[in-house]
Amino acid sequence: MRDVAVIGMGLTPFGELWDTSLRDLFAIACADCLEDAGVARDQVQSAYIGCMTSGLFVGQEHLASVLCDYAGLRGLAATRVESACASGGAAFRAAYLEVASGASDFVLAGGVEKMNDGADATYCLATAADQEYEAYNGVTFPGLYAMIAKAHMAKHGTTPQQLAAVAVKNHRNGAKNPKAQFPLEISEKTVLGAVRVAEPLGLFDCSPVTDGAACVLLAPVEFARKLGKPVVKIIGSGHATDAIALHDRKDPSTIPVVALAAQRAFKQSGLTIRDIDFAEVHDCFTIAEIVCTEELGIFEPGQGGPAAAAGKTARDGEFPVNTSGGLKSKGHPVGATGIAQICELYAQLTGNAGGRQLKNPRRGLAQNMGGSGGSCTVHILEVEQ
């Protein structure tokens, strides 16, 4: 396998974009990405595009052809990749492996979701759970993460205030992100007093329903070194699946697929979590960020909540998490999220993160998760010194 670099990114604004269609969202992100990379469209050899459920959200499948055509890339070898909310991460891994293998030099990794087009988002998202044995019995996605939260609280004493600290911190970061859906600072009181969705989770414990698209372009690292820009290498890629149903996993206060995917990414890179400077973590719900920071080894099991409340994951904390605002504030267009996380790593590592820029970060980690923990990807990026 040869070394691969990210050489450009494109990201649409995230939000309720009533005037922009699924295909247009992708076309904007794709064109911005190729412009940023300085690569002509006829050099691109293939694309992998993450999308969870365009069929349910807007009634459109067969995405690879419609998206590439409208992005001006008719004829391209392109594949839509689906792994629920980890679709973007899975698309990124497929693109990475194609360049690493030597089969292609320039491969686009994209993600898109158009969630505000009139469909019942709660129903659409519940299809990422076991349709016959979870969703059939009335469980929603917030409901599954609420059951994880309840189990985590019972086992470790995690509190609603600690969950709220995640939302407050991510909104503080998102307020510095011009692409964020809700770039607003919020208070703990707002989070704790919000309308209930699934106990113990309220509205501000949940990521929003979002339209958006993201793209990055991958190329061999030798090519990236000729561009005169910071060289951002992919040094670890881990991917894993687990049982789809939360009840089919041993301990509902844990999400073991995250540790498994991380272990694979760390093994490839020869690193541990102590070598990483910051992370984008899949905070679809506040409890998810707490559990994932434990599964990644940033904190010991049970310490994710106290760490969040103590400010350890803030931008100026010992291990910044979700400088982009995370899914919570930036927004969560499910298929695009995994690529948007890579965009944040790329922006931070190239010094282009604006008001939320970290001081000279060297390595970042992106963790993207499907469902209640049925799938996960972990990628580690490093900027060459």
Binding site: D120, A126, Y136, N137, G138, P142, A151, A198, A245, H247
Partner: protein, 131 residues
């Protein structure tokens, strides 16, 4: 919901039929074609026990449309007496009567209220056992 999809799951939803691996004894609910533990492919049909305890739970305030008439309702993961776990809705109990460790029994109920032209969806719920 289309009727073949509904019909296929009836033995599980109406009678809690599970598949027991004839080689290693692992019980799968719903039944599978391949044993997750020993990879064998032969099973006998067994019924699950009806009693169990709540492992974790939540009160759902914002449900999908088919469950809107039942909100708020409690969903729980229940561990039955033989260790098999199910996701259920709790029947006939206010949210504050259900917590981790609450003892429940599985009962047969109507689950979802879809449009009039669709099949009526039945299945299992769990009821709190009076202490």
């Amino acid at each position: 919901m289309i009727s073949p999809r509904y019909h296929r799951e009836k033995p599980q939803r109406y009678r809690l039929e599970a598949g027991k691996c004839t080689k290693c004894g692992e019980i799968h609910f719903p039944p599978r074609k391949v044993c997750r533990k020993c990879f064998a492919r032969e099973f006998e049909t067994v019924e699950l026990p009806r009693r169990g305890k709540v492992v974790t739970c939540t009160t759902v305030w914002i449900p999908p449309a088919e469950f809107d008439d039942q909100k708020p309702y409690v969903n729980a993961i229940v561990e039955l007496e033989n260790g098999v776990r199910l996701t259920v809705m709790i029947s006939e109990a206010p949210p504050d009567e259900v917590d981790i460790g609450t003892e429940v029994e599985i009962v047969f109920r109507r689950l979802q209220h879809g449009p009039a032209w669709e099949v009526i969806r039945y299945g299992y719920k769990a009821r709190v056992i009076a202490g």
